[in-house]
Symmetry: C2
Subunit: 349 residues, 2 copies
DNA sequence: TGTGTTTATCAAAGCGCTTTGAATAAATCA
DNA sequence: TGATTTATTCAAAGCGCTTTGATAAACACA
C-alpha cells in the first residue's frame, strides 16, 4: 500500500492525500477526515525512504559510539544518555542512527555520515580537551551539540555540560570540612575535558584550604571497576596514605570499596569516598542514606537536553549556539565520615 | 556534488558512473579507474537517501531499546551488545537504527519500523518466556534474530542464545561440590526467558544432589545493584540463612557484596557467590584470581553473532532459521569458598 | 563479406514521496 | 450581473540514485 494505491482507492490525487495526511491547510476538513480514515483502514504508512528523498531531510540524528581499540571499553554512561535522548527523538519523529566505530577512525565516520546525507544532526560524545571533531563538524556544516565541552576549542559551538569544576570543588571541600587533608583524586583519562575541569575544581578546593595538591594522589585512567581497585591498593601502600578520595564515577568507586574490603578497611570509616554519580539506572545510589556520598547529575536528563537543543537548531526554532550548564547536587551517604584526627577528638569529649 | 554533476564532469552517463562506482562488470577497467579517481578528487559520496529509495533497501538494522516505564531501567548489557553488533554492521555497510521506547508501546514501534520501510531487519532484545514480538515480526515478514529465546513460542525463528540452563546448573553444582546445601538464587524478572532457563538449571543441580528447592531462597527482580543488596539483607535475616548464592549478573552481585560488608560478613568466606558474568567492558572480572567466581559469556561476541546472522538472512546468504547456542565458561574467583561445615572439617585435620 | 557475439556505453524509466504551479469550483464583492 | 477572491483539487516535475532495454562499436567466425 503506497500513496498511489491509496489515492486511487480514494479517487483523489496524490497531492491531496499527501497534504491531508501531513496536516496542510489547503485541504477541506471533510476530505481530510475521509483520507485519514481510509489510510488507517488500510494501515498505510508513508515510505520513509521516499519521504526522506523528497523532503531532503533524513529525520535522523547520528550518535557515534567510539570504542577504544585498546581496552574495548564502552562508555557505561552511554546507554542512559541514549535513553534520554531517544525519548525526545521519538516525540519529535526523529530516528537515531548509532555508529559504532573504533576511536582511531572516528573522524572518517563523521565525514561519511555528513556527506552521505544520512543524518540531519550529530551528537558529540566524550569531548577531549582539544577536540578536533568540533572543527570538523563546523567545516562540514553539520548541526551538532556536544555533550560536554572542549576547553581548548575557542570557537562558538553548542554544548550541554555538567559543572564538573564545581562538582569536584564541592566534593573536595566537603571532605576537607570533615577534617581530611590527604585527599586523593581518581579521575578519568587525562585528555578528557571533564577530567581536566574536575582536576581544576579539586585543586581549587585544596588551595582554598592551603593544601598543596600532591601529584602522587592524583590519578588518571579509564574508569573501570578494576581501575578503582588497583589505584586504591597502590594508594594504601603509600608511606602517608590518603584518608579520603574523590572519584570520577561510581564504577571505580565500587573498585575502591573492594580494595578497602580486601585490606580489612571500611569505606566511610577508614576511608572517605565522594563519587561523581551519573545516576545510572542499574545503579541507583539513592534512598535515605545511599551507599555513596556523591555529587549527582542525571545523564539521562543531559540526553534529553542535548536532543532537544539539537532538534531546535535543525528546525530553526533556536538561533545561535545553545550552551547549557547543569549543576550537580551533593548527597551525603555512607561512604564518608570524619577524618581520623577529628574522630579521635570527638571520642575524647 | 551529486551523480549528475560528477557524470557531467567526466563526460559519461550517470549509468556508467554509477556502475563504475558500484563495481559492476559492464564497465571497462580504464573508465572505472578514471571514475574512481575523479570521484575521490571531488570527494563524492552517493546520497544515502536516494540510494535507499532506488534500491528499495534501507541498509539499516533496527534495535529497539525498551525502557521500563516504572523503573526507568536500561539494560546495562545493551551498550556492550551494540558495540559487538555495530562492528559487524560497519564492516558490511549497514547502519544501526536505535529506537528507544517505553516497554508498553513496544509493539507499535516494531510495526512502524517495518511499515515505513526504515529497516531491513530487526534484533529482538530481552525476550520474555512468551514473547509476542516474534509472532508480530513473522507476521510483518520482517527478518529478525532474537538475542535469547522464547520458551513458549513454538514456531521456528532465528536466535543466538547463551546456554542459561547449563550455566546455572554448573554454578549451582560448583557450590554444592564445595559443600553448600542452602543455596539461594538471585534471578532476573520472572517473565524473562533467561530467568526461567536459569531457574531450571538451578533446580536441576539441586535435585541431582537430593536437595529440594526452597522457594524462600529463590528471588526474582530487576537486576540492579540495589536489588542484590536488599535481597541479600533479607536472606541474612532468615532463621536458616543460605551459605551460598547464584546471582544472575555481576551488578546485583556487587549489591550482595555490599550487604555482606554491612553485616560484617565477608564474601567468599561467610557467603559464597557465583555470578553470571556478561563480561561488561567497564567491569572486567578477570585476572588470575578475579573478584567473582562466575560463569562467563561475552555479550559483545553475542552481538557480533546476532548481527552477522541477521545480515546473512537479509542478503540470502543463509537459508532457514539460524539457531546458535553459546556456552559459558566457569572461572573460579575470590567470591567462593567451602561451606562452613566443610571448613570446620578441614580445620580439625 | 556478412552474420552473430561480446563489450562498453547511454537514454530513460522508476523508486514513492513532496511541492510547485495551474485549474476548477465556490464564495464574495462591487 | 460580471469581476475578483478564496477554497479545493489536480497534473506534473523533482529529489538523486539504480536498473532496464536499446544502441553502437569492436571483435570473432565462417
Amino acid at each position: 500500500m503506497n500513496l498511489k494505491d491509496l489515492s486511487n482507492i480514494l479517487g483523489l490525487s496524490q497531492t491531496t492525500v499527501s497534504r491531508a495526511l501531513n496536516g496542510y491547510p489547503e485541504v477541506s476538513e471533510a476530505t481530510r477526515l475521509k483520507v485519514q480514515e481510509v489510510a488507517r483502514a488500510h494501515n498505510y504508512s508513508p515510505n520513509a525512504r521516499a519521504k526522506r528523498l523528497a523532503t531532503g531531510r533524513s529525520m535522523t540524528i547520528g550518535h557515534i559510539l567510539p570504542v577504544s581499540k585498546k581496552h574495548e571499553m564502552v562508555n557505561p554512561v552511554f546507554a542512559d544518555f541514549i535513553a534520554g535522548a531517544g525519548e525526545v527523538y521519538s516525540e519529535n519523529g526523529y530516528d537515531l542512527l548509532l555508529s559504532v566505530v573504533d576511536d582511531e577512525n572516528e573522524a572518517e565516520s563523521y565525514r561519511s555520515l555528513a556527506m552521505r546525507g544520512a543524518v540531519d544532526g550529530i551528537v558529540v560524545h566524550g569531548p577531549k580537551v582539544d577536540d578536533a571533531r568540533i572543527a570538523l563538524l563546523q567545516d562540514l556544516d553539520m548541526p551538532f551539540v556536544v555533550h560536554g565541552r572542549s576547553s581548548h576549542v575557542k570557537s562558538d559551538y553548542s554544548w550541554v555540560d555538567v559543572n564538573n569544576r564545581r562538582a569536584f570543588e564541592r566534593a573536595t571541600g566537603f571532605l576537607m570540612d570533615l577534617g581530611h587533608n590527604r585527599i586523593a583524586m581518581l579521575n578519568g583519562l587525562a585528555d578528557m575535558d571533564f577530567a581536566v575541569r574536575r582536576t581544576i575544581g579539586y585543586e581549587a578546593a585544596l588551595k582554598a584550604g592551603n593544601i598543596v595538591p600532591d601529584p602522587e594522589l592524583m590519578c588518571f585512567g579509564e574508569m573501570t571497576e578494576n581501575y578503582g581497585f588497583e589505584v586504591c591498593r597502590k594508594l594504601l601502600e603509600l608511606p602517608d596514605p590518603p584518608t579520603a578520595m574523590v572519584v570520577s564515577s561510581i564504577i571505580p568507586a565500587i573498585g575502591v570499596r573492594r580494595a578497602l574490603g580486601g585490606a580489612g578497611l571500611k569505606i566511610g570509616r577508614d576511608m572517605s569516598v565522594v563519587s561523581h554519580d551519573d545516576d545510572l539506572s542499574y545503579f541507583r545510589n539513592t534512598g535515605d542514606f545511599p551507599a555513596f556520598t556523591a555529587v549527582r547529575s542525571s545523564v539521562r536528563e543531559a540526553g534529553r537536553r542535548v536532543a532537544s537543543a539539537l532538534i531546535n537548531m535543525i528546525t530553526g526554532r533556536e538561533e545561535g549556539p545553545h550552551q547549557e550548564m547543569l549543576e550537580v547536587e551533593l548527597t551525603v551517604g555512607q561512604s564518608t565520615g570524619p577524618a581520623p584526627a577529628m574522630r579521635r577528638a570527638m571520642q575524647q569529649r
